[in-house]
């Protein structure tokens, strides 16, 4: 049974940026691409568990604020050291101006 959770309003995140979304004891990063598509990954860097929400989105990549590892936030793929492990990604849908993620 899919569990869709409302993360935020679609306009709560700027284009080419991300916001943090906490649910229970989990934390997620929620992205809006330069082309206005929405994506969601785990919120903590796989290298040393730093919040990606303080990082920099460039095109389709998120750069971790601590040691500059980068991930493709569409697929979660780790693209640059020191991250060696990819991020988990989650399906996203937009309904009535709200963003929902399936967790």
């Amino acid at each position: 049974m899919p569990n869709w959770v409302r993360a935020c309003g679609a306009n709560d995140v700027d284009a080419e940026d991300l916001v943090r979304f906490d649910h229970g004891d989990r934390t997620f990063a929620f992205y809006r691409s330069p082309g206005d598509e929405y994506f969601c990954t785990d919120g903590l860097c796989t290298h040393e568990q730093v919040h990606l929400a303080d990082g920099l989105v460039m095109d389709y990549e998120i750069e971790c604020p601590k040691h500059n590892a980068t991930f493709d936030y569409r697929t979660g793929e780790a693209k640059r050291a020191p991250a060696c492990v990819s991020l988990a990604t989650y399906p996203v849908k937009i309904e009535n101006g709200s963003v929902w993620i399936e967790i």
């Binding site: 920099l56 750069e63 604020p65 040691h67 500059n68 640059r80 050291a81 020191p82 060696c84």
Partner: protein, 356 residues
């Protein structure tokens, strides 16, 4: 347990096991996300202007060195060439290692490889060593880049003002790693998945140096090695004099870069050589901000930081007596007063670990 100042800086010793500060939340001076986002932005134009000028200066002084080789002019020209080559490359190795100057990734990577070679540093080993330095800055037994372990060796300090022992060590390291040998300390921060790349990089660097050596023998001239390889030895002194200020004499084992790092004002020429690393608190607090935006970041957070030193001289005036005093009193360190209203340093007490 009484604190007699004993510290074990080894990455495989008791302090390495006792690390708990590493996972602590490091203090960050508050700044609006919107502003930090602006400052994090990369600009190929700004980076290329800086790196292009640097390369032009290296090539121009190198060409001049070739032109005046064999005359008395060769010495002052070599001095200038060495500084652009050795000191200029060292700060640029660091910047491109963070991946922050260029928006275009391959430009960062290409300059990283070039500057790593010019600094005689293994690009993979140093990337990971520096990663640990940023995770656990001046945490005893965890940070592989603590330049002034207490009690500090004044002999090493004086020798290293010319950076020569450190670079000689790097050269030895290059040979060792080219033969596939890593120390336990290196293995403690370099993941196994990186080992083969690390060996290959040292082999490639050694190959280039061998070709340069062969050229010197064939041409019966010192010129090739004065142009490639040797400038790291005779030209890195300026970088080292500047970089000594980064953490020397300041607090250890505290998750607050305002307490363990130094920001000071510096003239534009030295800032060019040093890639603005005089804004060292800012760099550690927000390592994702490229070097050309550090002065603006400094303006943004300075009200929350200790007041910056007015000059390089001011840093040394404070640092030298403190480091001298640490010889007899390893518990001594410089306490940096925070301005009124600044955020408090997170409280941490690290146990003193006795030698096994």
């Amino acid at each position: 347990m009484p604190n007699d100042g004993y510290r074990d800086y080894s990455l495989t010793g008791p302090n390495a096991k006792a690390s708990f500060l590493g996972n602590a939340e490091w203090y960050a001076s508050p700044a609006p996300r919107k502003r930090i986002k602006e400052l994090m932005k990369r600009s190929d134009r700004l980076a290329l202007t800086n790196y292009g000028n640097w390369l032009v200066l290296v090539v121009a002084t190198g060409a001049l060195l070739v032109a005046v080789w064999g005359t008395a002019w060769a010495w002052p020209v070599a001095l200038a060439y060495g500084v652009f080559y050795g000191s200029g490359a060292d700060s640029r190795w660091h910047e491109t290692g963070h991946g922050t100057p260029f928006k275009t990734r391959w430009l960062n990577d290409a300059f990283y490889q070039l500057a790593s070679f010019m600094s005689l540093r293994n690009p993979h080993l140093w990337r990971w060593s520096h990663t640990r330095h940023h995770s656990e800055t001046v945490i005893v037994g965890r940070d592989p880049e603590i330049a002034f372990p207490r009690p500090p060796s004044i002999r090493n300090w004086v020798l290293n003002l010319l950076y020569i022992p450190a670079i000689t060590k790097e050269l030895g390291k290059m040979v060792r790693i080219a033969f596939g040998n890593l120390t336990d300390a290196e293995k403690s921060f370099l993941p196994e998945s990186e080992w083969s790349k690390t060996f290959a990089a040292s082999r490639a660097q050694l190959l280039v140096l061998s070709v340069v050596g062969l050229a010197a023998v064939t041409l019966q001239s010192w010129l090739p090695i004065f142009l490639i390889g040797l400038p790291t030895f005779y030209g890195s002194w300026l970088h080292h004099i500047l970089a000594t200020t980064q953490h020397a004499g300041l607090a250890e084992d505290v998750p607050d870069h305002r307490m363990n790092s130094r920001t000071f004002y510096l003239n534009p020429f030295f800032r060019f050589i040093y890639s603005n690393m005089n804004y060292h608190i800012e760099h550690h607090m927000y390592p994702i901000v490229p070097f050309y935006n550090l002065p603006a970041l400094h303006e943004e957070i300075k009200a929350d930081c200790p007041s910056p030193y007015g000059s390089l001289w001011a840093c040394y005036r404070e640092m030298v007596p403190a480091v001298l005093r640490q010889q007899a009193d390893p518990n001594h360190y410089i306490r940096r007063p925070l301005p009124a209203g600044a955020g408090a340093t997170p409280a941490y007490e690290r146990p003193v670990i006795a030698a096994e």
